[in-house]
Amino acid sequence: MIRQERMRVVKIKEIAHNIFEMILSGQLVHDMKSPGQFVHIRVSDSYEPLLRRPISIASIDRDKSEFTIIYRAEGRGTTLLSLKSIGQEVDVLGPLGNGFPVHEAIAGETVLLVGGGIGVPPLYELSKKLVEKGVKPIHILGFQTKEVVFYEEEFLELGETHIVTVDGTSGHQGFVTTVLADLKPDFTTYFTCGPTAMLVAMENMFPDKKGFLSFEERMGCGLGACFACVCRTTEQTAVDYVKVCSDGPVFPAGVVQI
């Protein structure tokens, strides 16, 4: 069920340069179904800014009725969100969209989790869920530079983790594809979230592998009503288009035209 709830800020912390981790508490947490779903947050009770901000769910703690988001304070909305303090309430609509299909990986298998920048957060909850069911994840996490790297230790606790930065200031130097070319990992399925260029590179690098990609597009309603986040599909599909918010944001490789 989709709910609108005023959720309480339990924790807010800058975990890397301009990257914030916020924990929110409320009942909406119990409706979250799969890693990779997102919430639509109204950062102000006024008309400024007007629209909600779609932010992916990084971690879910059902026992405590809490969940974590990790976002970059870059535009007006996310900057305002970064100024919230503990105890304040935030208007949250969610959970929205369809996340990563954890059931596609079987216990004992090795899978690849590839994230880029602010696309890394939803992979954390995904990795937790995969590890829980006995799947072995290999994490390849790409960032611009050392000062925006986050959650390295958290991912390390769950499995093999490779950090890569464009300028080489942390981990390997280059892109996630550079590491993948060197590593030549053996895996059954890949899950990825990040900039479009990275998604394209993943599809091109592993055309015969089962893969699931999480997309980003400017959204209006977040529910599927406004037709803002529509993507054309490839010829192999039965439909002409999909909506990132309500049909996605996660799609199997080869569905969305990129």
């Binding site: 989709i2 007007l50 629209l51 609509l93 400017r218 529910l223 009503a225 037709f227 529509v230």
Partner: protein
């Protein structure tokens, strides 16, 4: 007595609140959140004869207290709207106002003829004001003679009353309103979005792929209110007012300016429960104003 009931040509509304076309799809998404039978009516997404896939993305951009959109009338086409969307909406006790769009007069006539036969379609809204398509849309809405001819052509085939949705992107909106009234329009819905633009400050290029988009949201309320006020003085057919409505106070303002009912657009994206919330708050607001019935609000500003 239902203090909120409003009767308009073809429409027996249990309350004067309805979601605006293009901001509510065909209702399915919002039906996950509340019972659509609570609404006065639903203005469904613009329907064209053929399937339309719309404009490239980005299609929306936020602006100060508003947003720009250039969706491009994406819709599954007449046949599928009738057999799937309208059929599905039959489960709710709510009159549907079908927004009709096209490229040529014949397209509008064809869509109007067929869609007006659907049993839950109680009125048509003639879309002569969409700013985001190259042909049709706004080109019909900026010339009073062309607008009148199209209105008359659609009136001749429609089984239900015809409302004409006016564009604010004209010099004299009253002239267009008078022209469509003379051509037989049963009502007016106003306003559609204002053509606007946002540039990426770094690149200097438009944010929206279409270049320009239609501005909506609270930012346009003063313009919409002024136009409703002006048109209400010039026509005797009813007006369904819209343009930046987000609160119960906005509803009071539009009805005071002369609207007989109102539509809520962009605010549905900000607060998906905005329509039922306003409906719930209306009686209390009437009490506060010392009014018995919502229709007492209509045109208060002109008295």
């Amino acid at each position: 007595m239902n203090r909120l009931a409003v009767n308009l040509p073809g429409l027996s509304l249990k309350n004067p609140i309805m979601p605006a076309s293009g901001c509510f799809g065909f209702g399915k998404e919002y039906a996950q959140l509340y019972d659509l039978s609570k609404l006065g009516a639903i203005m469904i997404k613009a329907t064209t004869l053929e399937t339309r896939l719309g404009n490239p993305t980005p299609r929306v951009a936020e602006t100060s207290s508003g947003m720009l959109n250039a969706i491009g009338l994406q819709n599954p086409g007449l046949e599928k709207v009738i057999s799937n969307e309208l059929k599905w909406l039959e489960q709710f006790e709510v009159p549907i106002i079908a927004n009709v769009a096209g490229t040529l007069t014949e397209d509008y006539v064809e869509v109007a003829k067929h869609i007006s036969k659907s049993k839950n379609v109680h009125a048509l809204e003639l879309n002569i004001s969409c700013p985001n398509v190259k042909c049709g849309g706004i080109t019909f809405g900026t010339d009073p003679i062309v607008a009148a001819e199209l209105t008359a052509a659609v009136k001749a085939v429609s089984q239900v009353p015809v409302y004409v949705k006016l564009s604010p992107n004209v010099t004299d909106i009253g002239e267009i309103a008078r022209a469509v009234e003379a051509a037989g329009a049963d009502g007016i819905t106003m306003i559609n979005t204002l053509v606007g633009m946002r540039l990426d400050t770094r690149t200097g290029k438009p944010v929206i792929a279409n270049g320009t988009g239609g501005l909506s949201g609270p930012a346009i309320k003063p313009v919409a209110l002024r136009m409703v006020y002006e048109v209400a003085k010039q026509v005797s057919i009813p007006i369904i007012g819209m343009g930046g409505i987000a609160t119960v106070d906005d509803v009071i303002d539009f009805m005071s300016a002369g609207a007989s009912a109102v539509a809520v657009g962009t605010a549905n994206f900000v607060d998906p429960f905005v329509c039922p919330t306003i409906i719930e708050q209306l009686p209390e607001k009437l009490d506060w104003l010392g009014l018995n019935h919502v229709t007492e609000l209509i045109g208060r500003s002109h008295l």
